[in-house]
Structure formats: C-alpha cells, structure tokens
C-alpha cells in the first residue's frame, strides 16, 4: 500500500515535469527584455503588444533553451516619450539607462522609436554592451552606416525592420505602377517636421524628379498641426496628382478628412502615415480616408500571405488584443523576440558577444519573409520577394478594409482612384 502511494506521487511529479514544461521553465531565472517605447503612440503600443504576444507564446512553449536550461522571457516596458512634440531625446535616454541599470535588462528590443533618440541611444547601448534589436519607427539609414563605420563600437545594435532607402525604393516602384496604370506623374510632398520625414521627403523628391516625375513642392508641418487646408489648396492649385505624406502624428488623419472635404484630385500616399496604418482609421475619418495608400513597412502589419507565418501572427495578435496589428512596429517587434530566442539558443549563452555572433548568422523564414542581417551594418536584408528577404507592404483603404496592393508578390488587390479623380 505504501509502495503504491509512492508510485502515485512519483507519477504525479513526472507528469508535472514532462507534461508542463512551461511551468518548469518559469521556475528558472527569467531573461529580462527591456523595451524602451513611446507607449502613448501607435509605434510604441503596437510594438509593446507584439513583443508581449511573442513572449507569451515562447513562455507557453517552455521558454528559451540557454545551454540546456529552459528560461522564460520577462518584459519590462518603459515610456521613452520620444514621439511627443519636441522629441525629448533626454527622456528617451533616461528610459534606456533605467532599463539597463534598474531593471537589469539582459537585452533591449523595441526603441527608442524616433530616429533622433534612437541614434543618440546607440552609444549608450554600446557602453553597456547591451544587445539591442530596434523594431519600430527608427527608419534612418544612418543606423547601418554608423554600425558599418564603427563596427567594434556599435556591433551590439541590430535593426529588424525596413529603413528609409528601401522604403523610397518601394514607394518609387509603386509610383511607377500608378504612372503606368493611370498616367499620374505630378507629386506634392507633405512632411512632418521630424528627422525621418524631412529626410525621407527630400530623398523621395530627388529620386522622383530623377525618374521623370514632376515634384511640385514640399510642405513641412510642425508636429501637432491640426489644419492642413492651405497646404492642400497649394497642392490643388499646383495640379498635384499624388500627395506624398510622411507623418507619424495622430493628427495626420485630419489631413485626409480635409482632403476628402475639399475633393483634392490627388491620390494620398503615405510613405509613413501612422493614422492610416491603424484599423481605426476608417472610423476616425468617417470613411473619408478611403483610397488612402500607406506603407506599413513590413508584411504582417496588414493582412497578406507573404509567408505561412504571416496570417498566423496576424490572427494571434487579433485574438489576444482584440484588434488587428495596428502599425509599422507590430510584425517586426514580434519577430525580434523569436530571432533573439533563436540566437540565444544557438549561442547557448546570454553573453553579448556570443549572441551578436549568433544574430549575425540568423537565417529564418519569419512573418515577413527571410530574416537575415547585413553582416556589417546589422540591418535586415530587404527584398520584394519574401523568399529572399524581408518584404515590405503598401496597403490601400478600400471599402473600409486595408488591402495590400504592393509588392505584387503579396498583393491582395489593385490600386484604385477616388471617383473625383476618374476622367
């Protein structure tokens, strides 16, 4: 009888360890991921949600295998506030330092979000030898130029989402499609007065002019602008056919409402347009934002079948948060956690130099295509084909839905013109 009792107890213990590996992993010391994010803004909260989704999935499956020991991930988010008007870079740096020193973050994933703040944070991250994967907002090509120029110093920094040069390439390719299909060739650029937007608008204007487009003007708006009427009148008077918009402020949805009310005969094309990326855009503009195009940087932030993982991620995010992936920071932030897990497991250690070496060898088919980093610049390798690299995604609002229209390899629909533009 006594032996039988011991047998039952042993069987129960075995069940706990064998059937519930997640519980076992959770008993180990967690690997802390510090997430410096501007949480009051889209590119902060979408990344936050995506990171938590990936961490929950990984922990539920037993955690991360660090040299034979299963350890769970733990998320520490801190508000950088760097998307606020005035770009408080010092606040962002403070958040990064607090995550490292107070929260004892083993790795950093996410931001800072705004390029100005992220570039400033890179030296700090190097000083503390913290492996960091930038996943949202930070678009400037200066990132990989800095890593390539001073590799030994900045080798701990990686960026897993698209950047401005690739964005311009995608946008120009999409422009050429529009030109071929509808004969439009006059563009008016409207940008927010922040680094990525000013830079992006300038580069796009130059590239578009070189490719035979008429660039009719550039209007720069301070963060927080709530009236775009005069700029729209300027564009209309100049005969613009495409409004190229670079804005990540929530007020940019006002621009589309005014565009509709004024019936400006130009197709709104958000190279970065945070408002139009979100599923709530339709309601926010009372449907007036229909026909707006916007680049959500990587596939997975709008529904498509780029890879078998794309809709799996899309549906899991929607189920967990009750809303579809909202902005450009979602799929890349999610993917960063899986890439980090993979690198830690291959490195069999949390040692930063070993994890850096493992990250450099990353080759994974992820949510938005093949994930590989450029060897010296640590920038994700982009492509128009998900089989070859990280694929971008341009959507258009059509009848209340976000329809991916570019690139062709993942498109779910064709670009349409508003009725007042049709001849």
């Amino acid at each position: 009888m006594k032996m039988r009792g011991i047998g039952i107890l042993a069987a129960l213990l075995a069940a706990v360890f064998l059937v519930l590996p997640g519980t076992y992993a959770l008993a180990e010391e967690p690997i802390t991921i510090g997430c410096p994010l501007s949480t009051a803004y889209l590119y902060g909260w979408d990344a936050d949600r995506a990171i938590r989704l990936a961490v929950d999935e990984i922990n539920a499956n037993g955690g991360v295998d660090v040299g034979g020991v299963k350890r769970p991930f733990k998320v520490e988010v801190m508000d950088t506030r760097d998307l606020e008007p005035g770009v408080p870079v010092s606040e962002a740096l403070l958040a990064v330092e607090k995550l490292i020193l107070e929260k004892k973050a083993d790795f950093l994933v996410g931001g800072p979000v705004r390029s100005e703040a992220a570039l400033a944070a890179m030296s700090l991250l190097s000083k503390h030898k913290k492996v960091s994967i930038f996943t949202t907002g930070f678009l400037t090509p200066k990132f990989h130029a800095m890593v390539a120029k001073d590799y030994d110093k900045f080798k701990y920094c990686f960026r897993i989402h698209g950047e401005a040069v690739q964005l311009v390439k995608e946008i120009m390719a999409c422009f050429q499609e529009i030109k071929a299909k509808y004969g439009l060739d006059k563009v008016f650029i409207m940008v927010q007065d922040v680094s990525h937007a000013r830079g992006g608008g300038k580069v796009l204007g130059k590239v578009a002019a070189d490719k035979g487009w008429q660039v009719l003007g550039t209007e720069i708006y301070p963060t927080g602008t709530t009236d775009f009427s005069m700029g729209l009148i300027k564009a209309k008077k100049a005969g613009a056919q495409i409004l190229n918009i670079w804005m990540d402020m929530p007020e940019s949805s006002i621009l589309l409402k005014q565009w509709y009310d004024m019936k400006v005969p130009a197709l709104p094309f958000g190279s970065t347009l945070a408002a139009a990326e979100q599923p709530g855009f339709w309601k926010a503009t009372e449907g007036k934002g229909e026909y707006t195009l916007c680049n959500v940087v990587n596939a997975g932030n709008a529904p498509s079948e780029a890879t078998p993982w794309t809709m799996k991620f899309y549906d899991a995010y929607t189920k967990k948060w009750g809303i579809e992936p909202e902005g450009l920071g979602a799929s890349s932030s999610y993917m960063a956690i899986y890439v980090l897990k993979d690198a830690i497991e291959r490195a069999e250690s949390l040692d930063p130099d070993k994890v850096v070496a493992a990250l450099e060898k990353t080759d994974m088919m992820g949510v938005y295509g093949r994930i590989q980093f450029s060897p010296k610049g640590h920038q994700i390798i982009p492509s128009f084909d998900p089989k070859e690299g990280a694929v971008g995604s341009i959507l258009q609002w059509q009848d209340g839905k976000r329809v991916v229209v570019f690139p062709k390899s993942i498109a779910k629909g064709e670009i349409q013109l508003p009725p007042w533009m049709k001849k």
Binding site: D227, M230, E251, G280, E286
Partner: protein, 288 residues
C-alpha cells in the same frame, strides 16, 4: 481669396481658443494655465457621452458644458482661491491642474487618433473657387455669435456688469458690494465653458488628442498677450492679427513656421509694448 477665407476662419478659431483665458484673467487676474486641458477634456467628455453612452450629440454638448462650467467653478473654489494674488503660485497651480488633466486622460487610455466628433453639418462649398467645408463656415458664424453674446452679456446683464466692474477696478467693485470671489468663480465657470465651447466647435474639424491641450494653451496665451492681458476685445483683434499672419506665413514661407508666428508675436509684444494692444497693465515707464 484663399488667404481671406482661411485667414478669417483661423482668426475666429484663435479667438474662440483665447476668449475663455482672457475672460478669466480679466476678472480674477488668475492666468488659467489649465485652459488648454479644459479644451481637450470637453472634447473627450462629449465623445464619451456620444459614443459610449449613446446620447444625442446636442444633449452631449449641453451636459458637457454644464460639467465643464462646474469644473471651472470648483477649480477656483478649491484650488486657485488659495493662491490668488501670488502670481507664480497661480501659474504653477493652474498648470499643474492642466498637466494632471492631460496626463490623466492619456493614462486613462485616451490616446491615438480614434477619438473624433462628427461635424455638425457634412459637406463643403466653393467660395470664390476655394473649397470650404460647412463646419468651418459654422465655426465662423457661431464664433462671431459667441463674441457678440459675450459682449451683450457683459453690457446688459447684472452679472455681466459686475464682472466688468471687477475687471475695471476690483477695489471699487468691492465697495459697491460686489463679491470678488463669487465673481471670480463665475468668471472661471464661464471661462471654462468658453474653452469647452471652443473645443466642441473646433474639434470636429480634426480629432481629439491630448497634445492639442498644450498647443491651445500656447495660442491662447499668445493671443491674450498681444491683445493685452485682461482685454477681451483686444484678444479678438489679436486673434485676427495672429490668424492672418499665420496664414500669410503658410502661403509665403511654409507651414512649419506657423507656430513660430505665435511665439514671435509674444516676444515682439513683450519687447515693444508689454501691456499689449489694449492691455490694462501699466506701461513699464509708468511702473518705474
């Protein structure tokens, strides 16, 4: 023509944003730095009544105005009255209230661009070849009515006359039996309601975001400094000066200089005529 139309619209919008601030300062001499926060709060309250509780739009606005008026009165009665007369403390206290409201809204989840109020009238019309939406035309009409209504209120009602008496000479008003604190409470309630009215009129043109609170406060202060702190008519005139200057700046220089206009207006006014256009503060040479 576009400068004339949108200059007028922008000027009336600025006047609406600034009237409440000017009124409160004119009566109680309290610079209400929570003004921008009240503007935004009124939008969120109306949104909540309209979308979460499903009330009629007009009823939502009326209830919001009552609540915002009561909030203004309470803020004076329980906070500002204790620091009245201490200039720095007034600014710190009212700004702290404004910060608490705005950051509280953000903390409470009111972030993003999904908070919008529908325009009172949909559609647009061409005026002289320039497209103008009906809501903006309504802003001009209602804005003018509010200015006229405020003028009539302060000239033909007992409370209004008492408020004017306070604004002109507080000691003389006290000698005539006017309750200074009661008038300040009334002024704060009306000032808050004017900020709220500006909010529900102007916010349907865009969306309700916490950050607007800071911009509205800066614009209201700029208008009141240029017009002369304490002068309501000065504020209206200054709103037109700054409003047209902003539109001219957008047309001839670029949109990113638009906010600079308001800040430059403050600096030049303080250098050239610190009391503003119609200010009742003594000029520097008189004070020395």
């Amino acid at each position: 023509m576009d400068i004339l139309i949108y200059g007028t619209i922008n000027s009336i919008a600025l006047a609406l944003m600034a009237l409440g601030f000017a009124l409160v300062y004119g009566i109680s001499r309290v610079p209400n730095f929570a003004h921008g926060a009240i503007y935004v709060l009124s939008g969120f309250i109306t949104w909540t009544f309209l979308n979460s509780l499903g009330l009629h739009y007009a009823l939502s606005i009326v209830i919001t105005m009552v609540l915002i008026g009561a909030l203004g009165a309470l803020l004076y009665q329980f906070v500002l009255i204790r620091v009245r007369g201490m200039a720095i403390s007034e600014i710190i206290a009212s700004y702290a209230i404004g910060l608490a409201i705005l950051e509280g809204l953000r903390w409470g989840g009111f972030k993003g661009m999904s908070y919008t109020l529908p325009p009172f009238i949909e559609g647009s019309v061409m005026i002289g070849g320039i497209p103008v939406d009906f809501q903006r035309i309504l802003v001009v009409g209602l804005g003018a009515l509010i200015v006229l209504g405020l003028w009539a209120f302060t000239h033909y009602t007992r409370i209004g006359l008492a408020l004017r008496g306070m604004a002109q000479d507080e000691r003389a008003a006290l000698m005539l039996g006017i309750d200074s604190d009661l008038m300040a409470v009334v002024a704060m309630a009306i000032g808050a309601m004017l900020a709220g009215l500006a909010g529900v009129l102007l916010l349907p043109l865009g969306n309700i975001v916490v950050e607007s609170g800071y911009n509205v406060l800066i614009l209201a202060i700029a208008v009141c400094i240029v017009g002369g702190l304490g002068s309501w008519m000065g504020a209206v005139l200054a709103a037109f000066l700054i409003g047209f200057a902003q539109i001219l700046t957008v047309v001839y220089l670029g949109s990113h200089y638009q906010m600079v206009v308001a800040l430059l207006a403050i600096i030049f006014t303080l250098i050239l005529k610190p009391s503003g256009l119609f200010g009742m503060q003594k000029e520097l040479e008189e004070r020395v």
